[in-house]
């Protein structure tokens, strides 16, 4: 049985179909990349799985180990082991990094999670998650917090966004560390080189999954830019 199973997921907003019958599954311990151009609906998939406010599916289902998540509040989903690192991490006035890492933490060494993202704990644990930290620093802390949660399914929305190129390998190592710790990862990205560490990859175009298979083929299809303009029709053929 898949850990995460998304079946015929439809999401409409303002009369427009953002997702139009998405089928996707993620196995336990698998890194599954979801590739797609800007506006393809990748983040919408992530938000629906996480149960964000305003993202109840129009049709279709999302299941975790066979359990339908419909109607389950976000924090209950998190307690089942789903979590998400946001593309643009929130800022928190007055909240120190060490306290943030401790929220829901299942890791015996939350400070050590910072090292995984290339941050020295002694330099960051007492700092506050506000606008004095750069976007890249907050991104790394967000990813460290996901490791500290020891989730069964980590949804990483554009984990490479805001990260400098030399540090990209650290992010890839972090994703692999999540897998080693037993987490499955739904890796959402429009940067196809990041997807190379995945076990499988899917392409999302025109509100549908147009390909699922090995990451190299998915990256090649995505790189061809064919589906950017085809609205999924050609990709689905």
């Amino acid at each position: 049985m898949s850990l995460l199973e998304i079946v015929q997921l439809v999401f409409r907003a303002n009369g427009r179909a953002i997702l139009d019958g998405v089928d996707l599954d993620v196995a336990a311990g698998e890194i599954h990349a979801l590739l797609g151009a800007n506006g393809a609906g990748k983040t919408t998939v992530a938000r629906i799985v996480m149960g964000c406010s305003g993202y109840a599916p129009t049709a279709g289902s999302v299941r975790l180990e066979g359990r339908d998540l419909a109607g389950l509040p976000m924090h209950e989903r998190a307690r089942l082991g789903i979590t998400m690192a946001w593309q643009e991490p929130a800022r928190f006035e007055g909240l120190p990094v060490n306290e943030y890492l401790s929220l829901g933490c299942r890791s015996p060494d939350p400070a050590g999670c910072l090292r995984l993202v290339g941050l020295a704990p002694e330099a960051y644990l007492e700092r506050v998650l506000d606008k004095k930290l750069s976007g890249g620093e907050r991104k790394r802390i967000e990813l460290a917090s996901v490791v500290a949660l020891k989730p069964r399914l980590a949804i990483l929305d554009e984990p490479a966004a805001g990260i400098d190129v030399p540090s990209m390998e650290e992010i890839e190592q972090l994703i692999l560390a999540l897998k080693r710790e037993g987490s499955a990862v739904l890796l959402i990205t429009h940067v196809e080189p990041v997807a190379k560490i995945a076990d499988r990859a899917s392409c999302l175009c025109g509100g549908r999954i147009t390909f699922t298979g090995d990451p190299a083929t998915a990256a090649e299809r995505y790189r061809s830019r064919h589906c950017v303009t085809c609205d999924g029709v050609a990709c689905a053929e």
């Binding site: 924090h75 967000e142 917090s145």
Partner: protein, 311 residues
Amino acid sequence: MNAFDDMLAALSSIYADAAILAAPRTAHVVADGHTVLSRRAAPGVELKVVESPEGLVMELVVAEGARIENPIHSCIGFLRPRAVQRLKIRVRIEPGACATVLAHCLFPNAEAGQHVMDAAIEIGSGAELKYSEGHYHGELGGMEVRPKLSVWIRPGGKYFSDFSLTTGRVGRLAIAQRVEVACDAVAEITARVFARGSDEVRIQDELVLAGRASRGLIKTRVALADDARAAVVGITHGNAEGARGHMDCLELIRDRAAARAEPIVAVSHPLAKVTHEAAVGTVDQEQLETLRAHGLSPEQAIDVIVTGILR
């Protein structure tokens, strides 16, 4: 226990640092109502207190050039359920001096009480004052507190004030502070309040950036729950070349609470600049969802956010 011990016990229960008053080089005053329970000056610190049935008159002078290492403590309030306390405070930080004042205003048993303070503070040229005022009004919401402060910062002086009332009920609070900032001087005024029940909060801070290259910041953080009400008025005048001012007001509301923010900018010199930001509303959805993705319920997430902004 006598009144002094009771006051220290109240201080310890809120701030857990009453032992510091016993330190020999720490100036302090402890008063219950209009009665002084303890007072100590320290090298470089002159501290006079006059008792009268109409109120307490305190005068604090930090000598020119003195650098006072230990904070000066003022532990003032009353332990009775019903009482009125009036304070007249004069503070003078002489040129080049530097001091920190920690004022603890404690009314732990107040059912119907009033605390009225009128303070005049002068910070001399090149001097610095850090003034922190923490309040605890008990759990009954029966206090009315009206602090009024007039502050003059002379050239090159610095003033950092931090008012906090984040534990227990507020009752009715009306702060009025006016700070005049001379050339090259700096003022930063912060207030943090958590109001609930039928609490009422009014904060009016006014900064007059009167001197060349004077700088000022008004920062206000208010969290409101139940039927609490708040009005925050921030006024900054930019009256001189190179004056820079900013006002930053955040009010979080939940339940049936209501809040108002009025930033007023008045600039009379073409080379002065004053900016402001004000946000009134419920907690930020992105913050809430980030915390809920950690498994926190909405209530737990709001507590984390509110605790953060009130720090």
